[in-house]
Chain length 347, copies 2
DNA sequence: CTGAAAGCGCTTACAG
DNA sequence: CTGAAAGCGCTTACAG
């Protein structure tokens, strides 16, 4: 394989000049530049990443650190949980265009070897930037190691504001408000709400958004149920809300899995959706697209956030020590109206 | 960050000895080895991948080359096509255990810049092994470049036997035979078959397997329909087969998308599945798990094949020039019986 | 606008 | 069982 020396010899210049041309640096005569390009092309020369990384300050690597257990579970389940696929889609494109490589690294969240694992990743790979996904995005040890290594990082969907890095998250509260507004606009007045796992900040934000919208419309919530983001808890919530007398005409579950469970509960009770009750979810999961009827839900801008993260990291806009003003509530959630919501009492 | 020199100094040995210990090479006294380990641990030393790669013959990188257009489409569609997720699951685990890193590279199949793109990938990354997925797995230019670079490669689901590399594929014919046997065992005699895109070898293998089983049971196929692996063609095939008089009691579509289309056609015609007609697919796609009723299908051992591929590559068992005897029909397909098939004329 | 020298952090090939 | 030397293919820092 051709090296920088071969190209330099063929073009009749020094390797430094070849380096300048390959990196599109200034201060090379147009004619020289062309000669180098021609030599590189004829020799089919491509710079070696390891050498560039070792000699220089860039590795041309962007890594995503994802929770090992969760990710493996999702891959195994094959229920089409496509969070990671969306991250890959968003991050891969800008990386490719900039000559970077994107790789996914599994991290054993909250286990003994995690510190070693992450240290090794950082020292071995020396990535130019790291994208963190929940729950790693809030892991103090990982954040500390990242800062220690001086590696810029972007935190996707963080719960805690401390910990540095560029923080990118959807405005859960505004999104929940938006969905509630949608239900009210359809004519619903008695609306039930199923909360998620209380340990997650998103649960509280979504509930607050719901309550804000209800209050803004002068409505009292029909009923609240505390679930835990699982299908099973959605069934339970649905049963409780729908078996009473003054049952809500609409239920907003704060994630799709619970909404799907809720639909199952409605089916058990002989209720038809959306004729007897409208049901809305949150996440735009794969399952929401396969349910019958298809589920009205909220889509997080995962692809867009991952793309922004990669771009910011590549551009070097993320200082590893940025602590203030690096929080960005991504406004662009998308309400995805499908067939599980309609006007109350209507087919 | 600590380097090999720091460790050597602290342990009172040469860097060569540190290198030996870090790579678990023989010929180091147990006591020396321990001293080095202690020094490495106390300095939180982790070898730099770029330096290892540049100096040595290994990059500790395994790459999967996947079709850019197809992959982006799957990521975008979010219908839960989890082929790539299964590859990642299978390949990531052995890589992780062996200290390798796995990365996915998009390749613009059959476009002008492809040659440059792949050359660059090979020269820049110098991966120790490459896993190819369809349709890249049969791309002559990619195969030629791989051989030229001396990079070992594994071809997943190849259609053409030439092209070298370790070839791993499911025995489509045996699998189709297995599914047909299943339908016959349930009591079906008039069985329809929907073929896939004729340009793909898998279409022919699956059809042949079906016909073999039918012949072995002394049955004539009720009808054949040539589809193209799309949902739409499944609808068309279903309509044609199910609207006639002597309609089949079971239809075997050679992939899940067509089987799902076929189910939709049955629904249009007022037929209930599996009471009026049994329907079977092929792939165990995400959609097959979300359909109602859930689809009986065949599962390809993608995870297992990817794992085997990664292991073989890491172990250096794949010689880049292996041409004979490197073809392996993976026998372990799995028949996944679900609710869309039953005894004929039975609920 | 161009180049000579040094060095990044390791492994290889060899010597003892 | 251990180490000194050379070199992998680039970029950095500097000189001109």
């Amino acid at each position: 394989m051709a090296t920088i020396y071969d190209v330099a010899a063929q073009a009749g210049v020094s390797i430094k000049t070849v380096s300048r041309v390959m990196n599109a640096e200034p201060n090379v005569r147009a004619e020289t530049r062309e000669r180098v390009h021609a030599a590189a092309a004829s020799l089919n020369y491509h710079p070696n990443l390891s050498a560039r990384s070792l000699a220089g300050s860039k590795s041309y690597l962007i890594a995503a650190f994802v929770d090992a257990k969760l990710t493996i579970e999702h891959w195994r389940n094959e229920r089409g949980t496509d969070y990671l696929a969306r991250i890959q889609l968003g991050a891969t494109m800008p990386c490719r265009e900039a000559g970077y490589h994107f790789l996914v690294e599994l991290v054993d969240h909250n286990t003994a070897p995690m510190r070693q694992e992450v240290s090794n990743l950082l020292a071995a790979l020396k990535p130019d930037g790291v994208i963190l996904t929940p729950p790693i995005t809030d892991n103090d040890i990982v954040l500390e190691l990242l800062r220690g290594a001086g590696t810029p990082y972007v935190r996707l969907g963080p719960e805690q504001p401390d910990g540095g890095g560029l923080r990118l998250r959807m405005d859960d509260r505004a999104a929940a408000r938006g969905m509630t507004d949608h239900l009210v606009a359809l004519g619903h007045r008695r609306i039930g709400f199923i909360e998620g796992e209380q340990r997650y900040g998103s649960s509280h934000s979504r509930r607050d958004g719901f309550l804000e919208s209800m209050a803004a419309h002068g409505l009292k919530s029909a009923c609240m149920f505390v679930g835990d983001y699982t299908y099973q808890s959605g069934i339970e919530g649905g049963r409780e809300m729908l078996s009473g007398n003054a049952r809500p005409t609409a239920i907003f579950a704060s994630n799709d899995d619970m909404a799907l469970g809720c639909m199952a509960a409605a089916g058990e009770l002989g209720l038809e959706i959306p004729r007897d009750v409208s049901i809305a979810g949150f996440d735009d999961s794969t399952g929401s697209r396969f349910s019958r009827p298809q589920l009205t839900t909220l889509r997080q801008p995962i692809v867009e956030m991952a793309a922004l993260a990669a771009c910011a990291l590549i551009a070097g806009e993320v200082r590893p020590d940025c602590d203030e003003d690096a929080h960005f509530d991504f406004p662009s959630f998308t309400l995805v109206p499908r067939l599980s919501t309609a006007r109350p009492g209507k087919v």
